[in-house]
Structures are given as C-alpha cells and as structure tokens.
C-alpha cells in the first residue's frame, strides 16, 4: 500500500492538539529548579575537568602563606579567593579538584548498587515465595544496620581507597533499590501483558528482562537521583572519619576534618568544603524531588 505523502504535510507541521501537548510539556519543564540544576551541572563539570581549572595546583604548599583568610577579609590575597589551609594550600583549588572524588565514588557506587539492587528486586518480586522472603530479610537487615559502622569495618578490612568506599556504599545501596523495585514488580507482574507473555511461552528470564524491567525503570531513575546526595554525604563522612579516599587526593570530607584543629583561628578551612557538600547534596535532593513528582508521583513517600 502506497502512502500519500502529500496528505501528511511537511514533516514539521504540528496540529493544534499536538502543539498543546508540546506546550504543556514545556510548561512543566519550565518549572525545573534552575539553581539546583546549575549547581549540579557545575559540580559535574568540575568533576570532569577540575584539574585544569584550579587556579593554583591543589597540592602546592606554601608555608609562608599559611592560614590566609578569604580574599574579602583583611589580610586576604586575591590569588587565594577562599584562603589557604594549614599547609598554605589553596582551598578553592582543593574544593574544585575534590569534586572529582565525590563524583567518581557516587557514580560508581550508584552504578553497582542500582544494577545489583534492581536485579535482586526483580528476581525477588517475580519469583516470590522463599527466595523473596530470604532476599527481603537480608535487605531489611542491611537497611537497618548502621551504614557508617559497616563501612568503617569494611574499610578497615580491605584498606582505604576509592574501591573500598565504593564497595561499602554500594553494599548499603543495593537494599534500597531491591526493596523499591520488588514492590513495583509485585504490581507489574499481575498485569495482563505479563500473563499474555507467559501464555505465549516466554521464559521467566525473558519476562523479567523484556516485559517487567522496562516498566520499573522509571522508579530506578528517580531513586538514582534521590540517592546521589545521600552517597555524597556518606563518602564525605567516611573521609571525615579518616576512612575515605586517602591523601594526597583531596576530598571534601577530609578537608573539613583537616580544618577541625584550627577552627578557633581559621574557620574558613572547614567552612567552605562543607558548604560545597551541603550545596551539591541539597541540589541533588531538590532535583530528585522534582523528577519524582513529574515521573513517578506515587513514590512520594520516599
């Protein structure tokens, strides 16, 4: 059958109804939290190319310029906008370079945690019965056990480093994903298209991967954004306690810890890295909230 291309009109013509749909989508998009989006974008950008952007090499020590206050205070130096720490290192540069550690740990932990957790949730929800009971008990146990305790223990065993922090955080994360995905799978698997697929002779594996997984991916994406901030805080806390990524790699938690001894005289050493953590985490949380309200309003209780 030949299609009459004339009748379809030019490819970019939009009917009235279609225009309304697009306008509505755009209107929703416009309510995007812009400031958080900007902060997140800046954070990702700094994480990617912070090394080349830092005004001063992050590990350049200058003992004559120790404890310089931020530039706008008396005695500050414009070259060191946010001041210097106890070894005369530029705080702004270290914050910029430190973004990378937070970012790498967060992305890696989320990648492992979400894939593992989603698969476990999928299997658990789909198979049900004893497998489900066992997996969910394990997840409950993981979720109620203090994660900092577990992470400290783990770091003590496998030694400090990026890999240890990633393993520790993803071990905590998988349970959250597994729990959520399981509850989603429970409702999806009762729907007709799953039954039809089974009648058509699809294997369990095929039903899980092809028919159920795409229908729960929405929730995975929303949870991913909501957990990003959480992971950044966990990473920073571990760094603060000395169990994170070891020096000389600068991390924000480590910088706050480093300034602890000097808060009586040089409060800026601890203040600015902490402010960076709070700003980035707050932005991720707000973005996550926005995404959840628009993609998946039924998750409001998270």
């Amino acid at each position: 059958m030949a299609i009459d291309t004339e009748k379809l009109g030019p490819p970019f013509a939009i009917s009235g109804q279609e225009f309304f749909v697009r306008w509505y989508a755009w209107k929703n998009l416009r309510r995007l939290p812009l400031l958080p989006l900007f902060i997140v974008a800046l954070f990702v950008f700094l994480a990617m190319c912070g090394q080349w952007l830092a005004p001063v090499p992050f590990d350049e020590q200058n003992l004559r310029l120790r404890f310089l206050p931020p530039a706008w205070l008396e005695g500050g130096d414009l070259r060191y906008l946010l001041g210097t720490d106890n070894l005369g290192r530029d705080i702004l540069s270290r914050i910029i370079v430190g973004a990378q550690t937070s970012f790498v740990v967060a992305v890696a932990a989320l990648a492992f945690g979400s894939v593992l957790g989603s698969l476990i949730g999928l299997v658990s929800g789909y198979l049900g019965g004893r497998v489900d009971a066992f997996l969910m008990r394990t997840a409950d146990g993981m979720m109620s056990f203090p994660l900092i305790l577990a992470a400290l223990l783990l770091v003590a065993v496998i030694g400090p480093g990026v890999h240890a922090v990633v393993i520790a955080t993803s071990l905590i994360l998988w349970a959250r994903f597994a729990r959520l995905i399981r509850s989603e799978v429970l409702s999806v698997k009762e729907r007709d298209f799953v039954k039809l697929a089974r009648i058509a002779g699809a294997s369990n594996l095929r039903i899980m991967m092809v028919h159920i997984l795409p229908n729960v991916l929405n929730s995975v994406v929303v949870l991913l954004t909501l957990q990003l901030g959480f992971i950044i805080i966990v990473e920073a806390t571990l760094s603060f306690l000395g169990a994170g990524v070891p020096p000389p790699t600068p991390t924000w938690g480590q910088m706050v810890a480093g300034g602890r001894t000097y808060i009586e005289t040089a409060w800026w050493i601890s203040l600015f890295p902490g402010l960076a953590i709070a700003a980035v985490v707050l932005s991720f949380n707000l973005l996550g909230d926005w995404l959840r309200d628009h993609l998946d309003p039924k998750l409001r209780q998270l």
Binding site: M143, S144, F145, P146, L147, I148, L149, L152, L153, L154, V155, A156, V157, G229, I233, A236, T237, F240, L241, G242, A243, G253, V256, A257, G259, R260, I263, E264, W267, S270, L271, P273, G274, L275, I277, A278, A279, V281, L282, N285, L286, R300, Q301
Partner: protein
C-alpha cells in the same frame, strides 16, 4: 555474624598488630595462643559464636581490660545524648511538620520545608563544627566539646551535640510528617469529622495525626541505624566519651574484641527496635490489631 567473623579475621592477625615490630616469633606465638588465633578457623568460629551468645567479649587488645566493662563505662554518655536528641526531635518536628501541612503554601510552610531540606543535605560533622565555631569559639556561650571534668558536668555540654545529632532525624520526620499529613487531610473521614463539627485542633491532632503516624513508625524502625551512624560522627566531632567515638578508635587500633562487642550490641538494638515498632503498630492502628487476631 559470619560476615563479622570473616571481617575480624581478614583484617590481619591481631597478635602481630599489637606487638612491636621487632617481636620474636616466640612472642608472636605466645600472643596468638593468648588471643586464640593459633587454632583452626572452624574452631575459632565456634568460640566466636559461643562468646557472642553469652556476651563474653573477652578483653580489649589495646586496653587489656574486659570489653564489657569498657563499654559499660561509655554507653551511658551515648544513650543520654541520643535520648536528649530524641526529645528535642519530638518537641520540634511534630509541631513543625503539622504546621507545615496545615498551612500548606504559606510562608511558615516554606520556611519549615527549607530548614528540613537543609537539614537533610548538610553533613552532620560540618554542622557540628559550624555550631562549634559560632557558639563556642566566636560567641563563647557554650563549651566546644567534651563533657567537662568528672563526667557530664552540665546541660551546657549537651546543647551543641544534641542539636547536631537531632538535625537529620528532625529533617526526615518533618518532611515525612508533612507529606503523610497532607495525604490524610484529603481523606473522606476528615471531611466527615469537620462536618460533624469537631474542632479543627481536634481534627488535626487526633484524627489526622494518628493516621499520619504509620509511615513515621516504619521510618523509626530503620532510624536506629541512622542514629548509630550519627552518634559515631557527632561523638568524634565533639569529643563525646560514648561508644561511637570508641568504635572509631577501635577500628584505628584493630581492637577486634571491642569492635565485635559494639557491632553485636547494635545488632541486638536494631532487632529490639524492630520488635517494638511492630508492637506499636497495633497500638496506633486498631486495624492491624484486628488483622492479627483474626
């Protein structure tokens, strides 16, 4: 438990860790026999399970004292701090969460939501340091940390650690309470209560709050994990003589009897908390009670 066992053994032989590096093989062997790491792993695991079950945690490798006594000395300070924070959360989060829900969209709602969002985003170790800088160092109103000579000297030592500890819980509960209150406020039975002429205060505090409590209770069951994590951080920041700071020290020293004991203690506390919450469900929601008896 098995995970804990593997963890404690995989981190290296405590015998070699506690002795000076120039110890003779004979000394190492003697230390191993004292600690018990010379025996096969299966035997070690059997002893490990037995000790955990009977609360026999042995002696600290570093302090050479029974672990039970060491923890007993310090657990009081931790519990006091947690209790103070819990009380602070109860008297602040509930009124504010309800306020935000009933005045949705107004200025007070926005302020409460902003505070809660900040409380969830700011890392507690940083908030602690910030409070310390402002109120202890700059203004000099409150002590910066520790508990003063001879145990906890005065309420002034409590103020900053308590605020820091409660911030995350406060933020979570306020947010959760607000959203679950909003959901319940839309329900038919609320309209009915209003139509019957029940006063607005009673509608909010009795009819709505009771139904909005269930998600909070589920949250409280997993909250104890967060509380312990928070305790670790806050106790380190404020030099608080509790078991959280002790745990961090023990990790640094590879003092496994102490680590084991604290992890065991926390595991028991988690189980107890879950049990209590399960029982409380029945108290708050008669529907669950009826289900259970049928």
């Amino acid at each position: 438990m098995a995970i804990l066992f593997v963890a404690t053994r995989a981190a290296g032989d405590p015998a070699t860790l506690t002795l000076p590096s120039d110890a003779t093989p004979a000394q190492i062997q003697a230390a191993r026999e004292r600690i018990g790491t010379d025996r096969p792993y299966l035997v070690q695991f059997g002893i490990f399970v037995r000790d955990m079950a009977t609360f026999n945690f042995g002696r600290s490798i570093v302090y050479r004292e029974p672990v039970v006594g060491l923890i007993g000395d310090r657990i009081g300070a931790s519990l006091k701090l947690q209790l103070a924070s819990l009380i602070l959360v109860l008297v602040t989060a509930f009124p504010l969460g309800i306020l935000a829900a009933t005045r949705r969209g107004r200025l007070s709602d926005h302020l409460v939501r902003l505070t809660a969002a900040f409380g969830q985003a700011a890392p507690s170790f940083w908030v602690g340091l910030l409070l310390m800088t402002i109120f202890a160092v700059q203004l000099g109103w409150l002590p910066a940390g520790g508990t003063g000579p001879g145990g906890i000297a005065s309420w002034r030592h409590f103020v900053l650690p308590t605020i820091t500890t409660s911030l995350l819980l406060f933020a979570s509960i306020t947010r959760l309470l607000r959203s679950s209150m909003l959901e319940v406020l839309d329900a038919e039975f609320v309209k009915l209560a209003r139509a019957k002429g029940v006063s607005e205060t009673k509608v909010v505090w009795v009819h709505v709050l009771r139904n909005a409590l269930l998600p909070i209770m589920t949250f409280m069951a997993i909250w104890i994990g967060t509380a312990v994590s928070g305790a670790v951080v806050v106790e380190v920041v404020f030099d608080w003589p509790g078991i959280g700071a002790m745990f961090v020290d023990a990790i640094g020293n590879r003092d496994f009897p102490i680590i084991q004991a604290i992890v065991g203690l926390v595991a028991v506390a988690v189980l107890l908390m879950n049990l209590i919450v399960d029982l409380l469900y029945g108290v708050v929601d008669p529907r669950i009670r009826l289900q259970a008896t049928n």
